[in-house]
């Protein structure tokens, strides 16, 4: 592209059109430039202009010729067919082709900036100690490592180094507006990078940040937004008076209705309306919709906040240091309150006000209610509530991300090695508690919780159901894929088994499930000198995640050994049939219990069913949730259908087995 100075005719024309310049000599234009579409523009410093020949079609303005109207530009590079109209100050920006900046007070740079990259968030621990450095290629998994594995010094040092280097590379004194980006009716845009296709309308202040560029899934910023020191990845919409201060917003996030967040990170598909967040790690699918909901110093994922949810992280001793960890699928009921530090197990529900600091992380699928000042745990109670079932099914279909590159890795399986592992753990704890307790005891205590002694047995009974389902399910999936005995044997023999080892611990890295051994490999790769950029980090995780299915099967194999005494390669026909039967019985049992719960969805005497989902169910016009009236409730219908399918699948598998000899 060749640039030239203006001809004297062109300067004359521009002057006639109300334009002026400190020095016409520092104005460079494209070879094919013509001045027709430049009116009332004032130029200073070095300005580069392109060609303005097209008529743009702009949603709020209709058809408008590209060009510059009523603007004051300094040290800018303006690409082809851009529309700049009514912009008081446009300083130090590089505007890409077809971008639109319309009625914006100020678009400036105040010197060197990182555009939000490298901003440190005091996550989880408001007083510091778990700082998260944000940058525009951050993923939930990388963030998780940074926040939770502080004791792995080499790992953290390497990560922080890579990230800092990356952030340094982002430094600039010139701001960027990407191609086809649209900025309308805003007040102040300062030190920003705005990516391709982004739409910004009515924002009050955007300062020191990055809006990702993505044609397939643009970022949208709407009315009244004030955001400082922040990063927004593709496909996210931030609207209606949202306030952000030092925040990271991942992909496909929705923030609106005056949501206010500080020092917080929101990963894929989060939703925040009406409430407040301080120092939170909002893993994927963290959803909070209600006014007066405060999330502070907590970690969440696949989470739903009932209205008025609240926590405290102050113990008035050493300052706001405390944190809460809610594992995936947890929910808090209306007006629930927890005093950190607390931990809540996966898919558990917390209702009521809790002043005790409890640790319920060992008990997934449980209810934690407040009874007479104590935090009461009812283990396994949430296994067969309608809510759990519905939610786990809806997440995959609600993945909004359309960007071809997704950052956060998500695993959705309800019964997986981590959760089942936790359940096995819970089983042994409960067993222990049951044995140690006396008949006269109404309650037993455990890590700040009380558990009704009588419910220990039902807890054990219920926890065994998902274990049986998981064992049978994995086997069934293998069987359904094989057409011959040979194939089956091959698969069973190929499952990697480490002799004489217990099923290993799995981690949930904010949505991604991974066994400890593989995580350690992952750490090695990160620390290795071959890893020299943040892009490589993403590749490492992709590679690691690609082993999920195999790792799952391997864990299943170890579990099989533990529960039935045989490795997959040692399975015989009888045992396979036994496992399948157990799968069938338990799946149907679970479905039936969910069905029974569906009857009670508004069960007036259920302390638990209502007030939690009741609130959200009533507010969301979510027809799959709401009890239908004329037809059978579609969710109920689906469950019944599933029971039929269970029988069919079982029969098909048994029939296929018949022809195998298998000793």
């Amino acid at each position: 592209m060749a640039y030239r100075n203006l001809t004297s005719q062109e300067i004359e024309k521009l002057k006639q059109q109300g334009c002026s310049s400190e020095s016409w000599g520092t104005l460079w234009v494209d070879e094919k430039f013509t001045p027709e579409q430049i009116f009332n523009a004032h130029f200073s410093g070095k300005v580069t202009l392109g060609v303005y020949s097209e008529t743009l079609t702009i949603p709020s303005l209709g058809k408008h010729p590209a060009g510059i109207w009523n603007a004051s530009l300094k040290d800018c590079r303006i690409g082809d067919n851009v529309l700049i109209s009514n912009v008081q100050n446009l300083y130090h920006y590089d505007i890409s082709h077809h971008a639109v900046i319309n009625t914006v007070q100020t678009v400036t740079m105040t010197g060197e900036t990182h555009f939000g990259n490298g901003t440190e968030l005091e996550i989880l621990n408001e007083g510091g100690g778990r700082e998260l450095l944000i940058y525009d290629k951050l993923s939930a998994q990388i963030a998780y490592l940074l926040v939770h594995f502080r004791y792995q010094k080499n790992l953290i040092d390497k990560l922080q180094r890579l990230i800092s280097d990356y952030c340094e590379s982002k430094v600039g004194t010139i701001g960027h507006i990407g191609p086809y980006a649209q900025i309308h009716n805003c007040q102040i845009i300062k030190n920003m990078t705005i990516g391709e296709g982004a739409l910004v309308e009515g924002a009050i202040l955007l300062e020191d940040g990055t809006l990702a560029g993505c044609q397939e899934d643009p970022v949208k910023i709407g009315h009244g937004v004030i955001a400082k020191h922040f990063i927004v990845q593709s496909g996210s919409h931030i609207d209606d008076g949202v306030l952000l201060e030092k925040c990271f917003v991942g992909q496909g996030v929705r923030l609106g209705k005056q949501y206010s967040a500080e020092g917080s990170a929101f990963f894929a598909n989060c939703e925040g309306y009406h409430g407040e967040a301080v120092s939170i790690f909002a893993g994927p699918y963290t959803v909070t919709h209600h006014k007066s909901t405060l999330l502070i110093a907590g970690m969440f994922s696949f989470y739903n906040a009932g209205s008025g949810t609240n926590q405290s992280n102050h113990m008035y001793k050493l300052g706001p240091l405390h944190q809460g960890i809610l594992e995936r699928g947890a929910k808090t009921g209306s007006l629930s309150y927890m005093m950190w530090p607390c931990s809540v197990g996966a898919f558990s529900v917390v209702t009521g006000k809790h002043a005790a600091n409890f640790d319920a992380s060992d008990f997934p699928f449980s209810y934690i209610t407040a009874e007479e000042g104590k935090s009461q745990l009812t283990p396994a109670m949430n296994l067969f509530t309608v809510g759990t079932r519905r939610d786990s099914e809806k997440w995959p279909s609600r993945d909004r991300r359309k960007d071809p590159q997704t950052f956060d890795i998500l695993h959705f399986d309800l019964f997986n090695p981590r959760t089942i592992g936790k359940i096995l753990n819970a089983l042994s704890i409960l067993q222990n508690l049951g044995e140690k307790s006396r008949k006269e005891q109404e309650f037993v205590s455990y890590k700040g919780l009380v558990i009704k002694r009588l419910l220990i047995r039902s807890g054990i009974k219920y926890y065994k159901i998902p274990v049986a389902i998981y064992l049978g399910q994995c086997l069934l999936e293998i069987l359904e894929k094989t057409k011959s005995e040979k194939e089956l044997k091959e698969i069973l023999f190929s499952i990697p088994i480490k002799e004489n080892t217990e099923p290993e611990l799995w981690y949930d890295l904010a949505g991604m499930l991974i066994p400890k051994s593989r995580l350690e490999t992952c750490f090695e790769k990160i620390v290795s000198s071959k890893t020299d950029s943040v892009e490589t980090l993403l590749l490492i995780f992709d590679e690691v995640a690609s082993h999920y299915k195999a790792d799952n099967l391997s864990w299943w194999g170890h579990l099989l050994k533990k529960e039935y005494g045989v490795y997959p390669s040692e399975l015989n026909k009888e045992l396979i049939i036994q496992l399948l039967e157990s799968w069938k019985t338990n799946t149907v049992k679970l479905n039936n219990m969910v069905l029974k719960d569906a009857e009670k969805e508004f069960d007036p005497t259920s302390q638990i069913g209502y007030g939690l989902d009741g609130d959200e169910a009533l507010r969301k016009i979510d027809f799959e949730i709401v009890r239908g009236t004329y037809d059978e409730n579609p969710f109920v219908k689906k469950l019944r259908l599933e029971n039929n399918q269970v029988e069919t699948r079982f029969q098909a598998a048994i029939n296929a087995l018949k022809i195998f000899r298998l000793t």
Binding site: K439, L455, I456, S458, K461, K589, N592, T605, I608, G609
Partner: protein, 80 residues
């Protein structure tokens, strides 16, 4: 076991879990309607019966038991 004795034991368990006087529990009392049991307590009752009689009850069926009399019959069937 003799029905009368079984009935007494059942009532004792119920009284324990629901924190009432066994005298207040009539033979055909409905757990929800007459005794005000909620769903949590229903679960506790099942567990308490299992413990008292050393049996393992089928959940589904157990949770469908509506009255004390039904409970007595249901448990009796396990004791045969």
């Amino acid at each position: 076991m003799e029905t009368k004795k079984l009935q007494e034991r059942v009532k004792k368990v119920v009284a324990n879990v629901l924190k009432m006087d066994p005298e207040e529990i009539s033979d055909d009392a409905n757990f929800i309607f007459d005794l005000g049991a909620d769903s949590m307590q229903s679960l506790e009752l099942v567990a308490a019966f299992e413990e008292e009689f050393g049996i393992e009850l089928d959940e589904d069926k157990a949770l469908s038991v509506q009255t004390v009399a039904d409970a007595v019959n249901f448990i009796a069937s396990y004791l045969k």
